[in-house]
C-alpha cells in the first residue's frame, strides 16, 4: 500500500480540488436547458408549426434569453478576476472550449433575438415602429423563418455540446475525460427542455409531442450514461476509480437516487403511462426531469472535481 502525504495547503485545491462551486453546475444546466429550448423552438419554426398562434416557438426565445442571461450571471459570479472579464472578447483561443463557449454565447443572443422578432408584443410594436417593420418583413418570408429555425437548432446543438466539452476537455479530472460527455449534456439539455416546454406549453398537441420526445431523450440519456460509465470502467485505474465515485463511492447515493431514479426512471415510467393513456399527464414527471437535470450537473461537476490522477490511499 502507498501512503501519500503532502504539505500543500492551497485553498480550493486541498485536500481535494474544489475550485468550482454551485455557479458552474447552474451555468451548465441553464446552458443545456437553453440549448434544448433553442432546438425545440428551431424545430417548430423549421417544421412550420410556427403557423399555430400558440406555438411555443414564440415565447421560448424570450425565456431562453432570460435563462441564458441568468446562466451567464452565474458564470460571471464564479470568475475570480471579474474586472478582466472583457479579456474573453479580445481574443479567440482555438484550443480553449471556454473561449469557444464565450463566442458561441455571443452568437446565441442575436439568433434568439431573430426568433423573438418574429412576434413582438403590441406595446413594442407601437413604441418602436422600426422593429414592427422588420418583424413584418421577416414574417413575409417563409424561407427566412425556416432558416432562423435551422440556425436556432444548429446553435442550440453547439451550445448543448459545448457545455459537455467544457468539462471533457479537462483531462486532469478522469471523470470528465470521456468523449461522450457532450452527448450526455446535450441529451440532458434536450430532455430538460422538452420537460420544461411540456410543463408550460399552451398547445395540447405540443404537450403530447414533447412528452413522447422526452421519453426518447430520457432513454438515450440513460443509454449514454451507461456507455460513459462502461467507458470509464474499462479504461485506466484512475478512470475506473472515477466511475466508482458514482457507482459506489462518495457520490453514489445522490447519483442513483436523484439522477437515475428520480431524474430519469420514475418520470420515464410516468410519461410512458401517460402517453399510452394509462394515467393523466402529470406535471410531476417534467418537474422530476428538470430536477434530475440540475442534480446531474452538480454530481458530474463535483464528482469530477474530486476525481484525480493521484492514487491516494
Amino acid at each position: 500500500m502507498l501512503e501519500l502525504t503532502t504539505t500543500r495547503h492551497n485553498e480550493l485545491i486541498d485536500p481535494f480540488f474544489h475550485a468550482w462551486g454551485w455557479e458552474i453546475p447552474v451555468y451548465l444546466f441553464l446552458g443545456g436547458l437553453v440549448a434544448g429550448m433553442m432546438i425545440i423552438s428551431g424545430y417548430f419554426l423549421f417544421s412550420g408549426r410556427y403557423k399555430e398562434t400558440d406555438c411555443s416557438c414564440y415565447y421560448l426565445p424570450r425565456l431562453s434569453f432570460i435563462f441564458l442571461s441568468l446562466g451567464m450571471l452565474a458564470l460571471f459570479l464564479d470568475l475570480e478576476h471579474k474586472q478582466y472579464v472583457w479579456r474573453l472578447y479580445t481574443t479567440f483561443r482555438v484550443t480553449s472550449p471556454m473561449s469557444w463557449g464565450s463566442w458561441i454565447l455571443i452568437l446565441v443572443y442575436p439568433v434568439l433575438i431573430a426568433n423573438m422578432l418574429l412576434r413582438l408584443p403590441e406595446t413594442t410594436k407601437q413604441k418602436i415602429p422600426l422593429l414592427k417593420k422588420i418583424s413584418d418583413k421577416m414574417n413575409s418570408s417563409h424561407n427566412l423563418i425556416r432558416n432562423i429555425g435551422v440556425i436556432n437548432m444548429f446553435l442550440g446543438a453547439m451550445l448543448g455540446m459545448y457545455t459537455g466539452i467544457l468539462l471533457s476537455s479537462l483531462g486532469a479530472r478522469p471523470l470528465w475525460s470521456t468523449s461522450i460527455l457532450w452527448l450526455l449534456f446535450l441529451m440532458s439539455g434536450l430532455s430538460g427542455a422538452a420537460a420544461f416546454v411540456h410543463l408550460i406549453a399552451k398547445n395540447v398537441y405540443e404537450r403530447e409531442l414533447l412528452a413522447k420526445a422526452d421519453n426518447g431523450f430520457l432513454i438515450i440519456e440513460l443509454f449514454v450514461i451507461m456507455l460513459m460509465i462502461i467507458g470509464l470502467v474499462v479504461s485506466t485505474q484512475v478512470h475506473k476509480e472515477a466511475a466508482m465515485l458514482l457507482l459506489s463511492g462518495r457520490y453514489a447515493a445522490v447519483f442513483w437516487v436523484f439522477v437515475i431514479f428520480i431524474g430519469i426512471l420514475i418520470p420515464l415510467l410516468l410519461q410512458l403511462l401517460a402517453v399510452n393513456h394509462k394515467i393523466h399527464h402529470t406535471p410531476l414527471a417534467p418537474i422530476l426531469v428538470i430536477t434530475g437535470g440540475i442534480i446531474l450537473r452538480f454530481v458530474i461537476v463535483y464528482a469530477g472535481e474530486y476525481s484525480h490522477w493521484f492514487i491516494v490511499k
Binding site: 500500500m1 501512503e3 504539505t7 495547503h9 480550493l12 474544489h18 462551486g21 454551485w22 474586472q83 490511499k313
Partner: protein, 734 residues
C-alpha cells in the same frame, strides 16, 4: 459539497463594491502589521549580514531589506556553518519579525498567575517593579535565591546581571533535558565533550551510524548538509530507530530497535568487534585504558543475548558490526544531541563513545575532529561578588558527574522544597519551561512558590502566561547580540546586527539587562554605553572592528589541522590521560565502570511508549506562530503503526486524545497511521498543543508531549531527566 468558502464569499461581495476591494487585498499578507517598520525608508535592496537565532546553531545569514522592509534571508556564503544555505527555519526567520502575535509592550500581572490578565506598563515601571522585588528577595533570602533560566546567546547579558547581583543559579534545559548525558558520557571516556556544533566529521565518514538521531527532520544545518553529502558519496549508513525516520530511508541498514534497548545493541556490537578483533588495535593499544577489563566484561553480551532485548536479529547485529569495522577509522557512531531518554543515558552515551573508541574515530578523519574557536578577549568587568552558597541544583553532589552546567530540574526542585535554600525569584529568557521541563505540574507548583517570575520573550509563550512581569524582546533581526565564536572545523567569528527596526515597544536583551543592573545599583558592571561599544571593544581586542564585522558578518580564522593524522598530539583529559574503556572514576562513585544494560520498564497492555522528536520547520515550541512556519506545519500528528490503528479502529486523520498511565489526558491530535513506526510505541513532534490563550494561532493546536511526560527517570550519574518512559493509550472523547 458546496464550497462557498468565506474567502470566496468575500470575493463575490467584494466585486460588487468595485475594483478598490481587490487592490487592497494585494497579497501582502506577509507584511501585515509591519507598516511601522523602518521609519526612514531606504529605496532599493540592502543586504545586511547577521546570524540566525531560529534555532541554536547560529548560522551566518544575509538579510535582504527591500524599500525599507525585510524581504528575505539567505545563508552567508562566507559562513562555515551555513555555507550560504539556511535551513527552512532560517529562511522562514523573516516571519519572526512579521509575527502578528508578538508581544508589544511590558506587562504586569493583574490577576492570578496563569490567568493571562495583564496591565500594559512602561519599561520604566516594569523594570522598577522587578528591581524592587529582586532587592526584597536579596534582603530576605540572599541574592542566590534569584535564579535565571536562559537558553541561547541572547541570555549573555542577563547572566551577567544576575552574576553581578550575586547569584550563580543560572541554568538552561539544554543540559539536563538534552545534551547533558552525552557530554558527560564522552567526557568520562575521552576527557572532552562533543560540543555544539557537534565535532562530528559527517561529510568524511565512510560509515555513519545514527542511533535515534533523525538528521533531516532535525535540521541542524551543517549536520544536514554534511549528511546529504555523505548520502551522495555513498557512505554506508546504519540507522537505529523505532521509527522509520527520513534518515532511515537513506540507510543501507535499518535496525527497527525496541525502544530503550540501545545499550544492549551497543554492547553486542562491541562484543562482536572485540571478539572478532575488528577494532583499531593500534589505536586502542596506544590510547586505551582498561581495555582488558572492558573486553572481559563485554564478552558475555553476544548478539544472541541482545536479540530478545532489542528485537534485532543476531545476524544483522554481526553484519552491521562488521560493516562499521570495514570503514574504520572513518566510522562515525553519531553521539546524538537530545539524549535524555531513559535515565541511563550517560551510560548509553559512554557505550557510544566506547564504540567510537574501538573504531579509532576520535580525532580521526570521518570521525570526530578537533575543533577550533576564535580567540576574542572577554570584556573586562569588575569581579562578581562571591556567592555565599553553592548553586542550589545539586545538593551534596547527589549527581556526582553533573559538571559544567546546572540542572534546571534541580533548581525547580529547590524552588518547590526550599532546600538546600529557598529560590524565590525566576527570570526566564528564551525557554518555554512548561514545555521544556518534564512534568508540567511540578513546574507550575514551583512557580506558585515564587515571589517573582519575570519572563523575557518575543511572543506570549506558555511560560509568559505564568509570569508576574513579561518583558517583550526584539527578535534577532532587530538587535545586536554577543559574538558567536563557537568551536568548529575552522575558527570563525560572526556578528548579529539589527537589519530592521522593531515594530513596537520591544527592547533588546542587552538593554534590558543593563537597565535592570542600573536599577539594582550594579552600574559598575556596565561600563559601556551601548552594545556597539561593547562589541567594538571586544573585537578590537582580537584585531578586528565592529565596522568590519558589520560589513562582512563573518570572519574566519586560518585553516588548522583537525585530525591526529595531521600532526595533532592526542590528549585525553581523563584521570588516566587515556581513553577510559574502564572508568575508575565511575567505579569509585559507585557506578558501573563499563556500561551495563538494564531492561527498561515495558508498557502495560493497551499502552504505547510515547516518543517525541523534531520536525524540520519548527524549533521546540517557539516558532509555531511564525506565519511562514505555521503554515508549513500547523499542528503535530500522532504516528501510529497501521496495524495498531486497525486494531484500535483509528482512522487516518481523525482526532483522538491520549491518556498516560497517570491519567493525564492530552489535547486532541490527528492520527497518522503509517508503516513508519513500530507497534509498541507512538511518536509526535515536540512543541505543539500550547496552552497560551494569547497565542491564538497555536492555542491547543495538536498535542503536547511535555504534558504527557509526567514521569521521568533521573540519570544518577549527572541528573539528566530521561523522558521516553511514559506510556499512553487512546481516548476518543474529542
Amino acid at each position: 459539497m458546496n464550497s462557498l468558502s468565506r474567502r470566496k464569499f468575500l470575493k463575490i461581495t467584494g466585486a460588487t463594491v468595485g475594483a478598490a476591494a481587490v487592490i487592497t487585498g494585494s497579497g501582502k499578507a506577509l507584511f501585515k502589521g509591519a507598516d511601522k517598520v523602518n521609519k526612514k525608508i531606504v529605496k532599493g535592496i540592502k543586504k545586511i549580514p547577521t546570524y540566525c537565532d531560529v534555532c541554536f546553531w547560529k548560522c551566518g545569514a544575509i538579510a535582504y531589506v527591500k524599500d525599507g522592509k525585510l524581504w528575505k534571508i539567505e545563508g552567508n556564503p562566507k559562513d562555515p556553518l551555513s555555507k550560504g544555505r539556511l535551513c527552512p527555519r532560517g529562511t522562514g526567520g523573516v516571519s519572526a519579525h512579521y509575527d502578528p502575535e508578538r508581544l508589544n509592550s511590558p506587562l504586569i500581572r493583574k490577576k492570578e498567575r496563569g490567568e493571562e490578565k495583564w496591565v500594559a506598563v512602561t519599561w520604566g515601571e516594569a523594570l522598577d517593579y522587578i528591581a524592587k522585588k529582586m532587592n526584597k528577595i536579596k534582603e530576605k533570602y540572599g541574592p542566590e535565591s534569584m535564579a535565571l533560566f536562559s537558553h541561547g546567546v541572547g541570555g549573555t547579558f542577563l547572566k551577567h546581571t544576575i552574576k553581578a547581583f550575586g547569584s550563580r543559579n543560572i541554568t538552561a534545559p539544554s543540559f539536563a533535558q538534552c545534551r547533558g548525558p552525552r557530554e558527560t558520557g564522552f567526557e568520562l571516556t575521552f576527557g572532552d565533550v562533543v560540543g555544539s556544533p557537534e565535532r562530528t566529521d559527517i561529510k568524511n565518514s565512510k560509515c555513519l551510524v545514527l542511533i535515534g538521531s533523525h538528521l533531516g527532520e532535525n535540521m541542524h544545518n551543517t549536520q544536514v548538509q554534511e549528511f546529504a553529502e555523505a548520502v551522495e558519496k555513498g557512505t554506508s549508513i546504519i540507522v537505529v530507530d523505532p521509527r522509520f525516520s527520513v534518515a532511515a530511508s537513506k540507510a543501507k541498514y535499518y535496525l527497527p530497535i525496541k525502544p530503550g534497548t540501545d545499550i544492549a545493541l551497543l554492547l553486542a556490537w562491541m562484543n562482536v568487534i572485540v571478539k572478532e578483533k575488528l577494532y583499531d588495535i593500534d589505536y586502542v593499544n596506544k590510547y586505551g585504558f582498561g581495555f582488558e577489563q572492558f573486553a572481559a566484561e563485554i564478552s558475555q553480551y553476544t548478539p544472541e543475548w541482545a536479540y530478545p532485548e532489542t528485537g534485532i536479529e543476531p545476524e544483522l547485529i554481526r553484519t552491521t558490526a562488521r560493516e562499521m569495522a570495514l570503514y574504520k577509522p572513518a566510522t562515525l557512531v553519531h553521539p546524538g544531541r537530545h539524549t535524555t531518554w531513559y535515565g541511563d543515558d550517560t551510560q548509553r552515551s559512554r557505550a557510544i563513545a566506547l564504540l567510537n573508541a574501538l573504531m579509532g574515530s576520535w580525532g580521526r578523519k570521518g570521525g570526530f575532529y578537533l575543533p577550533y574557536n576564535y580567540s576574542v578577549p572577554k570584556y573586562k568587568y569588575p569581579p562578581y561578588p562571591k556567592p555565599e552558597h553553592e548553586p542550589v541544583d545539586n545538593p551534596n553532589h547527589k549527581y556526582p558527574f553533573a559538571e559544567g552546567e546546572l540542572l534546571s530540574t534541580g533548581i525547580r526542585e529547590a524552588t518547590i522544597t526550599g532546600k538546600p535554600y529557598p529560590i524565590k525569584g525566576w527570570m526566564v529568557y528564551a525557554t518555554n519551561l512548561t514545555q521544556s521541563l518534564p512534568n508540567r505540574e511540578e513546574t507550575i507548583k514551583a512557580i506558585q512558590n515564587l515571589d517573582l517570575l519575570v519572563v523575557v520573550d518575543i511572543i506570549p509563550s506558555e511560560i509568559a502566561g505564568w509570569a508576574d512581569v513579561v518583558l517583550p524582546e526584539v527578535t534577532y533581526l532587530e538587535r545586536y547580540d554577543e559574538l558567536n565564536t563557537a568551536s568548529f572545523r575552522q575558527s570563525f567569528i560572526s556578528l548579529r546586527q539589527p537589519v530592521v527596526d522593531a515594530p513596537g515597544d520591544q527592547k533588546p536583551n542587552w538593554w534590558i539587562a543593563k537597565q535592570l543592573a542600573e536599577r539594582l545599583g550594579l552600574e559598575k558592571y556596565y561600563p559601556w554605553k551601548d552594545i556597539e561599544e561593547y562589541l567594538d571593544t571586544r573585537l578590537k581586542g582580537a584585531g578586528l572592528s565592529l565596522n568590519e564585522l558589520k560589513k562582512k558578518g563573518v570572519v574566519t580564522g586560518p585553516k588548522e589541522p583537525i585530525y591526529f593524522d595531521e600532526g595533532i598530539e592526542p590528549e585525553f583529559y581523563t584521570p588516566s590521560g587515556k581513553i577510559e574503556f574502564y572508568s575508575l572514576q565511575l567505579a569509585e562513585a559507585g557506578f558501573d565502570p563499563v556500561p551495563k544494560y538494564k531492561r527498561p520498564e515495558q508498557p502495560p497492555p493497551g499502552y504505547f511508549r510515547l516518543l517525541f522528536g523534531r520536525a524540520p520547520v519548527h524549533t521546540f515550541s517557539k516558532t509555531q506562530s511564525y506565519p511562514l512556519l505555521h503554515h508549513q506545519m500547523e499542528e503535530n500528528v500522532l504516528w501510529v503503526n497501521t496495524d495498531v490503528a486497525k486494531r484500535f479502529g483509528l482512522k487516518n486523520g481523525e482526532y483522538i486524545k491520549l491518556k498516560n498511565t497517570d491519567g493525564v489526558i492530552s489535547n486532541k491530535i490527528k492520527v497518522y497511521a503509517t508503516e513508519r513506526i513500530r507497534t509498541d510505541c507512538v511518536f509526535m513532534v515536540h512543541g505543539f498543543g500550547q496552552t497560551s490563550k494569547q497565542l491564538k494561532s497555536t492555542y491547543l493546536r495538536g498535542a503536547s508531549d511535555s504534558q504527557l511526560i509526567t514521569r521521568y527517570n533521573t540519570d544518577p550519574i549527572m541528573g539528566g531527566t530521561g523522558m521516553n518512559v511514559n506510556f499512553v493509550t487512546f481516548e476518543w472523547e474529542v
